[in-house]
């Protein structure tokens, strides 16, 4: 218990995020089905978001909202970094956009050739 407790919480999130990235990449590289590859991408993306969030964590910090709970004077020492939170918000939306476009490609590819296998789409090469 104590060993786990000693590990900073953000490091756990960070490592989970990095692990998620690897899992996602594994999926993208080995799964021949395009939908599964997209799932892999989503995993990677999520992993990155976790890493981003973990980076913004300040030991013992709280949400960066300056109101009664966190008075203005103490703000600088009590809140977590708002920047990564802002960034992750943007990153999520971008990931969403990419995923949407990927999915529509997958849909169209299936329409066009009745398969979702990536290794059956190799007519352009060399």
């Amino acid at each position: 218990m104590s060993i786990i407790a000693d590990i900073p919480v953000s490091l756990i999130v960070l490592c989970s995020g990095l692990g998620l990235i690897l899992i996602g990449l594994w999926g993208m590289l080995t799964q021949r089905n395009m939908i599964r590859m997209i799932v892999g991408f989503s995993l990677t993306d999520t992993g990155i978001h976790m890493v981003m969030v973990s980076i913004g964590y300040v030991t013992g910090g709280t949400a960066p909202i300056i109101n009664d709970a966190v008075p203005m004077a103490e703000a600088a020492s009590r809140i977590v970094d708002p920047v990564p939170s802002a960034l992750v918000l943007t990153a999520i939306v971008i990931g969403l956009g990419v995923t949407a476009v990927m999915l529509s490609f997958a849909v169209r590819i299936y329409k066009a050739r009745k398969t979702l296998m990536i290794d059956e789409c190799t007519e352009s090469k060399w």
Partner: protein, 246 residues
């Protein structure tokens, strides 16, 4: 198989890189330079208690405008990709079988429970979405979150009533106008205040009240509307790709 092994090796090496990252990571004990500045100056400068919102809407407003743009173009892209194939113009890759499939409605109607729940919850979901983006500068939340909630309402609707009609015209008009208005507000920042996307074109108002923090709520309204309708449009596209104009 060899290829798999190779992939595995590569990922192992990548894991090594990640390990180096993680093992050299130490948790921050104080805010970064940027964070420090935002924490100390943010509330006075912009009048928004939620610092994330201040960062998102003003300090990094250009990011947010870009983000809205990303969403806009992915919606447009999805629309472009999943547009209806014109019947007359023979698409080579489209085989006969598909056409039959397309024309026949393939969606099963939802169960009565879902339908009822939707009718009950939908207005509340949308209302909640609006609340979230209107209070973005005060509490956790904001335009994107609110928009996403609205879109989840749409999702509800589509699940419950697969055949329900969503007005493309309405969506298009709202997303175009709200996007354009966002740009206009940004430009007003140059003319009336310090720079592009400066939220201080309007009075900062009372700190912590709903109508405060300058143009932030206004921008969040546009963002919320835009995100909500765009996500709805994307969902609608995927629901049944070959319908509607365009």
């Amino acid at each position: 198989m060899i290829k798999r092994l190779f992939i595995f090796m590569m990922l192992l090496l990548l894991a090594l890189i990640f390990f180096k990252l993680a093992s050299n990571y130490t948790e921050n004990t104080q805010l970064s330079k940027l964070g420090q500045y935002y924490a100390e100056k943010g509330p006075q400068e912009l009048g928004a208690p939620n610092l994330v919102t201040a960062v998102v809407v003003t300090y990094r407003g250009l990011d947010t405008l870009g983000e809205v743009t990303v969403l806009f173009i992915s919606a447009a892209g999805v629309g472009l990709l999943l547009r209806r194939t014109r019947r007359k113009q023979d698409d080579e890759d489209l085989e006969q079988g598909d056409r039959a499939e397309e024309t026949a409605g393939v969606h099963k109607p939802a169960s009565e429970i879902v339908e009822t729940a939707t009718e009950l919850l939908l207005p509340m979901v949308i209302l909640f979405g609006i609340y979230v983006f209107l209070n973005g500068h005060l509490s956790p939340g904001g335009g994107f979150q609110g928009g996403a909630i609205i879109a989840s309402g749409t999702m509800f609707l589509l699940l419950a009533l697969p055949e329900s009609h969503i007005s493309r015209l309405l969506i298009a008009t709202i997303e175009s106008l709200s996007g354009f208005s966002y740009v206009v507000v940004g430009v007003l920042g140059v003319i009336l205040a310090g720079g592009f996307l400066d939220n201080r074109i309007m009075d900062l108002g009372t700190y912590g009240s709903l109508f405060s923090a300058g143009a932030i709520p206004l921008i969040y309204v546009f963002v919320g509307l835009k995100v909500g309708f765009e996500l709805s449009a994307v969902l609608d596209r995927f629901r049944k790709e070959d319908t509607g104009p365009l």
